[in-house]
């Protein structure tokens, strides 16, 4: 009885980090965030469950934001399953995809399909706008980190292009 009372009073003092925070800490977009910022960030993310084979989004569908894989795996494809499906990438826990939709209004450029039962965290343009209104410092950190990640990917693409040209 006494223990339960003290536990209630001091709840949160020794609380474990949630699964969402643990996942977010693995993602380079949130590099340099404090524990408090991770807790604030957690409130913005939408946790969604997908069955194996279920589309997260389809090619040419309107895109609203990015997803982070918390559990499970997702493949990025073009073409249809019946007709010449090409797998562009297979992503596992801690990976993220669809981040370009945070920057432009263009439709999705590929399909994203859960390959096993998966839990994803969604972060969308509306959430980023809200974050910029409420806590612009955090919003700017995310945008800078996203810019860094996109720059890194662009450099990787350039490298691949150079390699293919030299071969």
């Amino acid at each position: 009885m006494k223990n339960a009372l003290w536990n209630n009073i001091f709840q949160g003092w020794n609380s474990q980090e949630s699964e969402t925070v643990l996942t977010l800490k693995q993602v380079p977009i949130f590099k340099g965030f404090t524990d408090k910022e991770f807790q604030d960030l957690e409130k913005l993310f939408h946790r969604r469950a997908y069955d194996a084979g279920e589309f997260v989004f389809k090619n040419r569908a309107p895109g609203e934001g990015m997803y982070i894989i918390m559990k499970g795996a997702v493949k990025i494809t073009i073409g249809t399953r019946e007709n010449n499906e090409q797998i562009l990438a297979e992503l596992s826990e801690g990976s993220f995809f669809g981040e370009l939709a945070l920057f432009d209004d263009d439709p999705r450029s590929a399909n994203a399909i859960a390959t096993v039962q998966s839990d994803l965290l969604g972060f969308f343009t509306a959430d980023l706008m809200t974050l910029n209104d409420r806590n612009p410092q955090m919003g700017n950190k995310i945008l800078l980190n996203l810019g860094g990640v996109l720059g890194e990917r662009l450099r990787g693409t350039n490298q691949l292009l150079l390699e293919s040209q030299s071969n």
Binding site: K43, L44, H46, R48, Y50, E54, F55, V56, F57, K58, R60, A61, P62, G63, E64, G65, P107, G122, F124, T125, A126, M129, T130, D133, R134, N135, P136
Partner: protein
């Protein structure tokens, strides 16, 4: 299914209409105040305190306005009663009645012969209905308190409520649902902010107009309050601008009664305008024209773009369902419906992509 829903709604509507009204108003207030709360939260990093600051600021503003308005209006009434006794008032009413009759065509003049008697009868009815008025005021205060409580809760938990609402969408419609809510938020918020800016511009222009009229000898007092009331009334489309003129006309009447120069005043030296009534009406029409043709299109743009015919239909429906309050939110509600229909049509057109 749809018919069943409409039948069920018409059955329960009398019981839930008040709650719906309170919730809709709380939502509209939340939309207007949300940016301020978010912006204070940005500085002090505490949501609860931000809500408290905005709420206390709003209540202080309203309290200050109502308090000083009541004090000024009672001062005005005391001055009026000290200056004018009942005999003078009746004589002035008769003179005014005769003047109006003289300006009207032959056939129309018969009804306005005993103007003072008609006005006395009207005042008698008003006094008799004071008890009912007290009940209405009590009900209004209760509803206002409920709207305030709901607004505070919504402001504090807005982003959490939105997340919970989005959680109800299936995976297929999740992103579209999120986009829909975001677009609705944007449209409603820009519409309401535009309306409030337009109302503020009407208040300022009315104040300027009334000051100019005072230079011509209109002898108008409480000009700041008249301006604010005109601005607030402007929030109700079509009907509001006319409602906004009434306090100015009443004050002009109260201040100038017994003044023969004001009674004989002519607009532009041509059209008879006893107590500067016509001058006030023309001034308000000019203000409305500037607001409607210059300020609102610039501030709000034509993004909400509801056809005037739809505005009238929505006003009639709002007025029939909930009276003047219904008219106040009829147009924003139509704006929300328009955005929802637009988004649903977009989803239907692109359903094969989801």
């Amino acid at each position: 299914m749809g018919l069943l829903f409409v039948g069920f709604l018409s059955l329960v509507w009398p019981y839930i209409s008040n709650v719906v009204l309170i919730l809709v108003f709380a939502f509209l207030f939340t939309t207007v105040l949300l940016k301020s709360v978010d912006s204070i939260e940005r500085r002090i990093n505490n949501r609860g305190l931000s809500v408290l600051i905005v709420t206390v600021g709003l209540l202080a503003g309203i309290g200050l306005f109502i308090g000083s308005f009541i004090s000024e209006i009672s001062q005005q009434a005391t001055d009026f009663s000290n200056r004018i006794d009942q005999d003078t008032l009746t004589a002035e009413f008769s003179k005014l009645g005769a003047k109006i009759s003289a300006t009207l065509p032959e056939g129309m003049a018969t009804g306005s012969g005993d103007f003072s008697a008609a006005l006395s009868g009207f005042i008698q009815i008003v006094i008799e209905n004071l008890a009912a008025l007290a009940g209405v005021i009590g009900n209004f205060v209760l509803n206002a308190a409920m709207i305030l409580i709901f607004t505070i809760i919504l402001l504090a938990e807005y982003h959490h409520f939105k997340k919970v609402l989005v959680g109800f969408f299936s995976n297929k419609y999740f992103e579209v649902g999120l986009g829909l809510i975001y677009n609705i938020e944007k449209s409603v918020s820009s519409y309401l902010r535009g309306q409030f800016l337009a109302a503020a511009s009407v208040a300022v222009m009315s104040l300027v107009g009334l000051t100019i009229l005072n230079f011509t000898g209109a002898n108008l007092t409480l000009t700041v309050f008249i301006g604010i009331i005109a601005g607030l009334a402007n929030l109700i489309p079509l009907v509001g601008p006319f409602v906004g003129m009434i306090p100015a006309i009443l004050i002009a009447f109260m201040n100038n009664i017994g003044n023969d120069v004001a009674m004989a005043h002519q607009l532009f030296g041509v059209v008879p305008s006893p107590f500067y009534v016509l001058d006030i009406v023309v001034m308000f029409i000019i203000v409305q024209q500037i607001e409607g043709n210059l300020i609102t299109p610039t501030l709000v743009g034509k993004s909400v773009g509801i056809h005037p015919m739809m505005v009238m239909i929505s006003l009639i429906i709002g007025g029939t369902l909930m009276g003047p309050l219904g008219m106040l939110f009829a147009v924003p509600a139509t704006g929300i419906l328009k955005v929802i229909i637009h988004e649903i049509m977009f989803v239907r057109r692109n359903a094969h992509l989801l």
